[in-house]
């Protein structure tokens, strides 16, 4: 597989990655400082006063959420970190096939002695390494926060690595789903729309399933396997859950990438519009 293809893919994605990496690192660091400013008892009182409907939206109990570790774990399913990782995964995945097809650069690349599967593998590689980097940046930001805020001197950042891995698994799956949609499509904007619709519908399924106490509905969402707060709140089940959550998300992501290779190898490449 030509190194030039890897370099080109990285070159086209590096600015986005850098922006998201800075966002992840700074946000988790700032989040740690914000957590240090909140009193656990006051937060428990506020959360306990919320209606039952709203409390059910939390993946963990109020005491677990209000605890120091619980509050820190929120960083990994906070909308900001989820935005950074999903934006990266969807942006890169959607650029695998439909992006260069629409831009007209795909036929230049594929007229070289390059296998079609190599295009998907390079996209998968850059998206995956990028997602690993982003999640590590998030974790390093948390580490920086823990080491700079005196009240966290007893807290170990290591358990949060598993929460970070859960976030990576989500990004891997979304990258695969976006790549698969891209391999079937010829318009990148439509690819992004399809994956965003899948993502939003999964959020709705999860929230509605949780609020209305319908576990089957919740389980039908891939986000049922994205629970970084649960990984931190219940240390006894941490490995069992890590294997389940990451296994399902990574497995589905891998299946999506393999299907994308299958589809892309067989499809006609239309002329650029």
């Amino acid at each position: 597989m030509p190194s030039a293809l890897w370099k080109l893919s990285w070159r086209e994605s590096r600015l986005l990655w850098l922006a998201m990496a800075i966002l992840m690192f700074c946000f988790t660091w700032i989040h740690t400082w914000v957590v240090s400013q909140i009193d656990e008892n006051s937060l428990t009182s506020i959360l306990s006063a919320l209606p039952d409907l709203l409390q059910r939206m939390s993946p963990v109990t109020v005491p677990q959420l209000a605890s120091l570790m619980g509050r820190l774990a929120v960083a990994f399913d906070h909308p900001v970190t989820m935005f950074a990782c999903t934006a990266w995964a969807i942006a890169r995945g959607s650029d695998a096939v439909s992006g260069p097809l629409g831009r007209g650069t795909m036929e230049l690349i594929l007229s070289q002695p390059i296998h079609r599967w190599a295009i998907i593998v390079v996209t998968c590689g850059v998206t995956t390494f990028g997602a690993v980097g982003l999640c590590l940046c998030g974790w390093l930001g948390l580490c920086a926060g823990i080491h700079t805020v005196p009240m966290f001197k007893e807290v170990s950042p290591l358990p949060f690595l598993l929460a970070s891995m859960n976030l990576f698994s989500l990004a891997f799956f979304l990258g695969g789903a976006a790549t698969l949609a891209s391999a079937c499509d010829r318009h990148r904007w439509r690819t992004i729309g399809i994956v965003c619709a899948l993502y939003i519908s999964s959020i709705l399924l999860k929230v509605i399933g949780r609020v209305s106490k319908l576990p089957a509905l919740e389980a039908s969402s891939f986000l049922d396997y994205f629970e970084p707060q649960k990984l931190i709140a219940e240390p006894a089940l941490v490995w069992q859950r890590t294997i389940l959550y990451s296994g399902v998300l990574l497995g589905m992501g891998l299946l999506a990438y393999l299907t994308a290779i299958f589809v892309f190898n067989r499809r006609d490449l239309p002329a650029p519009l």
């Binding site: 080109l8 070159r11 650069t105 036929e107 230049l108 594929l110 070289q112 006609d268 490449l269």
Partner: protein, 295 residues
């Protein structure tokens, strides 16, 4: 010379629409073969089938003996392709684009590509995003023509270039041919095809409707004569060299099938009020197949 490109009854259908039908031709090594036809005639479909971008509905094509669809990657090692509508990587500079193409295939040469840029009057230091359409076309030409492949496929290579640079490109194509390379040259510019190509294939509604060597075409002439009386019987020796295209009460139009010389003696014996002899040229052939009256 062995054939570098061969197609056998190649067809591509989209539902009921036939983009290419029963296309059989071959291009021997070292030939510059022109593809002519209006938009929608099937030129780009044919090229995309040769590059394995499309799966043939039936029939097949080979490049260097390799199946264009099943062995596409191996076949691409023998092909340098310039798309009709060149779009390059907008995040790169010109030199980085050249470096990409030099690295992406074995034996790629950046120095040769930079030399071609100089001949085309292009500064490869500029960012692609700031280049005009013509500049991007030159950059792509430099990248493609620097590849040492046995086959070059050029889809409308001069569409965005000024006349001077068109001449340079024609010279580059001739140099590639002199080096033993084969060129498939698709264009709308008839004069360019006539000057550059050894042979021309004319496509119409997805079919090859005409095939001619340019050297043979140059020998052919159109004779338009205004008669002063009745046209005498054409001698058998002359009949083989003439095709009557049109005739009314006073005017007759013939086309020669080969050289004009054997006919000059007979023409001199005719009682003519007027005679006009002109080379047929591609324009005439093209209009014959693509005029609005043609069925």
């Amino acid at each position: 010379m062995p054939n570098l490109v061969e197609t056998h009854s190649l067809c591509k259908h989209y539902a009921q629409f036939a983009a290419l039908q029963d296309c059989t031709f071959s291009v021997p090594q070292g030939e510059v073969c022109g593809l002519l036809g209006p938009n929608g005639a099937g030129k780009s479909t044919l090229i995309r089938l040769l590059l394995g971008f499309l799966k043939p509905t039936s029939g097949g094509a080979t490049i260097n003996g390799l199946d264009c669809y099943r062995d596409a990657t191996a076949a691409h090692a023998a092909v340098a392709y310039l798309p009709g509508d060149v779009r390059l990587f907008r995040t790169l500079r010109g030199r980085e684009v050249l470096r990409f193409f030099a690295k992406v295939r074995p034996g790629g040469r950046l120095d040769k590509a930079e030399g071609l840029c100089e001949r085309l009057g292009l500064d490869p230091g500029r960012a692609v995003a700031t280049m005009s359409t013509g500049m991007r076309q030159k950059l792509a030409l430099a990248a493609i023509l620097s590849m040492d492949t046995p086959l070059i496929i050029l889809d409308e290579p001069t569409s965005n270039l000024d006349p001077t640079i068109r001449g340079v490109v024609s010279a580059m194509v001739r140099e590639a041919q002199a080096a033993g390379r084969t060129v498939l040259f698709s264009s709308h510019v008839l004069s360019e095809v006539e000057q550059t190509c050894d042979r021309v294939l004319l496509l119409r509604a997805g079919r090859i409707v005409f095939e001619q060597r340019i050297a043979d075409l140059r020998l052919r002439h159109r004779i338009q004569a205004v008669l002063q009386g009745e046209l005498p019987l054409i001698p058998a020796a002359v009949q083989d060299h003439l095709v009557q295209v049109r005739r009314d009460q006073t005017t007759v139009v013939w086309e020669t099938t080969g050289e004009l010389v054997p006919l000059l003696g007979w023409l001199a014996t005719l009682a003519l009020a007027e005679i006009q002899i002109e080379p047929i040229g591609l324009q005439t052939v093209y209009e014959r197949f693509h005029s609005s009256e043609h069925p």
